[in-house]
């Protein structure tokens, strides 16, 4: 009789634990879903950043004009030189570093902890730039464009 009572109590306790666990799981599910929504909002900022820096006028000049970052990426891919004999890839690297460091201040005591930029031409890596301590909370965006059948992919990620 006593044993049966104890068994019933244990079953009741187990049921309560299961109910609480289900409620907790529902809450966790909801909070994860909300986190995903936030990412879309913030990656919009990163996406507009990529669009804006592609139009940035660099110090590298060809016969006609000062090249934008977008044109400089193609020049770098073709290993071309600027009119002042500087390597296009060198100018691309220094320009992008200057732009990103001015736009996303990285530091332990700042909201942005790290960033990474990767520019690929098909499978070939044109540029890889990383700075800071990488965390698990990141927002990113990618952009690709074509010129003469060649595809360039840009991936930029910011870590909070």
């Amino acid at each position: 009789m006593k044993n049966k009572k104890a068994q019933e109590e244990i079953i009741g306790f187990g049921l309560i634990i299961i109910i609480v666990a289900v409620i907790l799981l529902v809450f966790i599910g909801f909070s994860i879903k909300k986190g995903g929504e936030k990412e879309t909002v913030e990656s919009y900022e990163v996406s507009s950043f990529i669009q804006a820096f592609l139009q940035y006028t660099t110090e590298c000049r060809d016969i006609n004009e000062y090249l934008s970052v977008q044109k400089l990426i193609f020049a770098c891919k073709e290993s071309e030189k600027c009119l002042d004999e500087r390597e296009s890839c060198e100018v691309l690297n220094s320009t992008l570093k200057e732009i990103i460091d001015a736009s996303w201040k990285v530091g332990e005591d700042r909201p942005v902890k790290a960033y990474s930029l990767e520019i690929l031409a098909g499978e070939e890596e044109i540029l890889l730039m990383k700075k800071g301590n990488f965390t698990r909370d990141s927002r990113g965006s990618s952009q690709n464009f074509f010129k003469g059948g060649e595809s360039i992919d840009i991936f930029f990620e910011v870590y909070y």
Binding site: S48, A52, I99
Partner: protein, 199 residues
């Protein structure tokens, strides 16, 4: 003899204690029932308390979520409004800098129109102030753009008041520049920031 006396005494004692034992048993059963009722009352109280706490927890989570999503929506709207402003005819580069550029602001145009713009369009856009800040190349300090110092400045403010809004969007800030007698397009990196009307 002693034994007989003892047994007699014992019998008498047994005879006397029978009703009192019954009373004690009744008391014991009553006490047990009371205990059970108390146990159930405590259990009911504990269950009610648990559900009340769980309900409060749910309410707190729900309301904090609502606040957060309202804030997110507000932020998203502000960012989208900043993008919309950058691409509006009053700000956008159009075809002046070669091809239709997205998120591109014609700095020369904004400098020419800035005084009239806020008077005529503030209500239409639903913003109280707009600021365009040059990010790269970086200049030391904050230099407000006026007709006298343009383009050697980094802040174009449509209204003189300070802007403390965190709602901003990256834009390309383009202008025409004369280098060695030739006119070139020069696009820099900037941010359009808006002071948002809450209503």
């Amino acid at each position: 003899m002693k034994h007989t006396q003892n047994s007699e005494n014992f019998g008498a004692a047994e005879f006397k204690s029978a009703p009192s034992r019954r009373i004690t048993e009744k008391n014991l059963i009553g006490k047990k029932a009371q205990l059970k009722i108390q146990q159930m009352a405590f259990m009911l109280m504990a269950v009610t308390l648990f559900f009340a706490l769980a309900g409060m927890f749910v309410l707190i989570i729900t309301f904090s979520g609502v606040k957060e999503s309202a804030k997110e929506l507000h932020e998203k709207n502000a960012i989208l409004l900043a993008a919309k402003l950058a691409n509006s005819p009053e700000f956008s580069c159009g075809n002046v800098f070669g091809g239709g550029k997205i998120n591109c602001i014609d700095a020369d145009k904004v400098m020419m129109l800035k005084e009239k713009m806020m008077v005529k369009y503030a209500e239409f856009w639903g913003v109280s102030n707009i600021e365009i800040r040059k990010i790269a190349p970086e200049l030391k300090g904050e230099i407000i753009c006026k007709s006298g110092n343009y383009p050697d400045c980094n802040v174009i403010r449509l209204r003189p008041e300070n802007i403390t809004a965190e709602y901003s969007n990256f834009v390309s800030l383009c202008r025409k520049e004369s280098i060695e007698g030739e006119i070139h397009d020069k696009c820099e990196l900037g941010k359009i920031m808006i002071a948002y009307d809450e209503e």
